[in-house]
């Protein structure tokens, strides 16, 4: 499996110019997408599907800050272990609980604006953590792994909030 940064010819680092990533992604898909191989042999169609799949996967991983940080750590041989390692500092857990409570209140009151505000608050928090992880990835990778776990926590709550909004809108 090719290194995703190398695949897009981008420097292997957390800071990333999304417009360059987008442009590289489109150029790659323009060459390898199955639509370019409709009349090709089955062997080439298979290659095209596999490569286009890989390009999509790499694009998704690099585009999202949490998965990009996780991937950079993985390249250094550090597993973020989000499934099993759920130990978090007390203050972060407190914030978590507050968000969950705010979610429950909004559910009871069918308050979509409150949920939007909650999403905004979590985005601000995530931005700060992304700044932090950018500095930690090379200098303090173990620390960075914890930050990635925190980011994953926030992503998870955000997903749940979005799902709740969708439910309330029905």
């Amino acid at each position: 499996m090719q290194n995703y940064f190398a695949l897009f010819q981008l420097p292997q680092q957390f800071e990333l110019d999304i417009t360059v990533l987008d442009a590289q992604y489109r150029k790659l898909q323009a060459e390898v997408h199955p639509d370019k191989f409709v009349n090709a042999s089955p062997a080439e169609r298979m290659q095209s599907m596999q490569m286009a799949t890989q390009v999509n996967e790499a694009y998704q991983v690099l585009k999202q800050p949490t998965s990009r940080a996780r991937y950079l750590l993985q390249l250094q041989g550090i597993a973020t272990d989000e499934e099993n390692n759920t130990a978090m500092p007390g203050d972060f857990l407190m914030a978590q609980m507050e968000w969950r409570e705010a979610m429950d209140d909004a559910r009871a009151g069918k308050d979509i604006p409150a949920l939007d505000a909650l999403l905004k608050e979590m985005r601000t928090q995530a931005k700060a953590l992304q700044q932090q992880v950018a500095n930690e990835i090379m200098a303090a990778p173990t620390q960075a792994a914890l930050t990635v776990r925190k980011l994953r926590f926030i992503d998870k709550v955000s997903e749940d909030v979005n799902q709740l909004i969708a439910q309330l809108e029905d």
Partner: protein, 629 residues
Amino acid sequence: MALLQISEPGLSPAPHQHKLAVGIDLGTTNSLVATVRSGMSTVLHDEHGHALLPSVVRYLQDSIIVGHEAQAAQSLDPVNTIVSVKRFMGRALHDITDRAHIPYHFVENDSSQGILEIKTRAGLKSPVEISAEILKTLKARAEKALGGELTGAVITVPAYFDDAQRQATKDAARLAGLHVLRLLNEPTAAAVAYGLDNAAEGVYVIYDLGGGTFDISILRLSKGVFEVLATNGDSALGGDDFDHRIFCWVLDQVRSKTKDFKPLSEEDTRLLLTKARQAKEWLTDNHEANIVCKLSNGALVDETLSVAQFVTLTEHLVIKTLSPTRKAMRDAGLSIDEIKGVVLVGGATRMPHIRHAVQAFFEQEPLTNLDPDKVVALGAAIQANVLAGNRSGDELLLLDITPLSLGLETMGGLVEKVIPRNSTLPIARAQDFTTYKDGQTAMAIHVVQGERELVSDCRSLARFELRGIPPMAAGAARIRVTFQVDADGLLSVSAREQTNGVEANITVKPSYGLNEDQITSMLKDSFGAAESDKAARMLREAVVDAQRLIEAIQAALAEDGDTLLNADERQQIQTHIDALLALCQGTDSHAVKQASDALNHATEDFAAKRMDASVQKALAGKNLDSLEL
């Protein structure tokens, strides 16, 4: 300066030939076929000048009638005249909730796990077979208009169609003898037609309300790249539902005025539905519609429906389209002011109150400069033309997504999502599973599609059993299940035991739709009864496929054979080509197929090298671009 290309003696490249490729919009109410002629996408007409083919199929004792003539007979012969068959594609009988109002004799096919069939005087007909009749008619129209056999077709499906519905559509095309270049999502097709026509750039919303389906798609258009950001919809909501509201209203009026009103006959149901549709269309440009007809029991229907009444009757249907719209906007992470334009697609968007609702929601007037009935077919034709290879060096690239999440059933009837909705295609994802008991050697895997948490609320796509797991302690086995969704949006699933590499053989049995055997037998039936006919047809198909393969490989060799292969490797491939060419002169279709497989296999390394070279080439172009700045 470009280098002159000179081909090897005796191996002259095929003369540049315009391939006959079409785009087909297989609609709930109407179907169309379009093609690109002299650079322009054009809808093809029948001999009476009709562009729209009503998606109506009438079965007579010995013949089948499709289109206007069938539509005209629907009130006379409702049981054998099938309209809106698209609603039943990939569906089981229990999925059809309003069948009390549909005049067909539905039957559950016992061999295909609940797939529905319709009893006609010509026998049981599946929705796939009925749809194939519509496709055959369009194929014949196109071949007559273009004066030759079609090389391929792009067929459109609602973006919100699930795997079973897509598979059914592809089966119908195969049954009609069409080579499917791609299944294309209707809103994406519309975006292609609209975007290329208007040189549009930016984020556009396609609001597509057809006869029986509703899709909303949000796309980013940029330099010929059409990137779908989010899609949502309702595959059982369309113009038909508006007709149905009018139908129910008329029925209520008549009932309240008539003593001991008898239940409607099938003929009367169809008659009133037709009157309802006509009233709906009339109300687009008029303030009120008169609904007048005589029922078979002698009762006279004479009602007047005003626009205001119609709006009240159908307001909830309009609102029902806005919920998926909001969800798609959220999934795309966009606000209203980021939307550059809203394109209306589908005949049902002609209704003024739909237009007003869309305008109010997006705070801008929707775009209607392309005929909402034709735009999908026009876009499909453009894509077909590109895929057939008639346009080279073009910039058109469609990046489409999965409309619905794919997952597996886990303990307690819960769904574990493996591929989330709105993932760009093609996509593959793997999920590891383990055994629950000591010594367990088999595992049941249930694939579902949908957004809900409970398996029972999602659509069941396939069930299969993974056998041959080596006996181990509970939790020790590692079974990796891989989902692959291709560019058509079709799913395939494979499974492998990881710890000792045993690949258990699995076949995914479609819960709905046809399996390979059923398709083959239907195709054989359609070849005619004589054994020799079948053999001849099989041979012809094998030879056509072989020629297509040789052509593709020779094109690849001409491009990259000198740079990527040494003389030995090249000779090996050539030997396989020569062997296959020789067999194509013979009469053994099985041998032709085997030699085709062998040739394909012999080119696998070459294909991998070419792909690597493509990747290098893609990004090497970056330097050129930056120079142009």
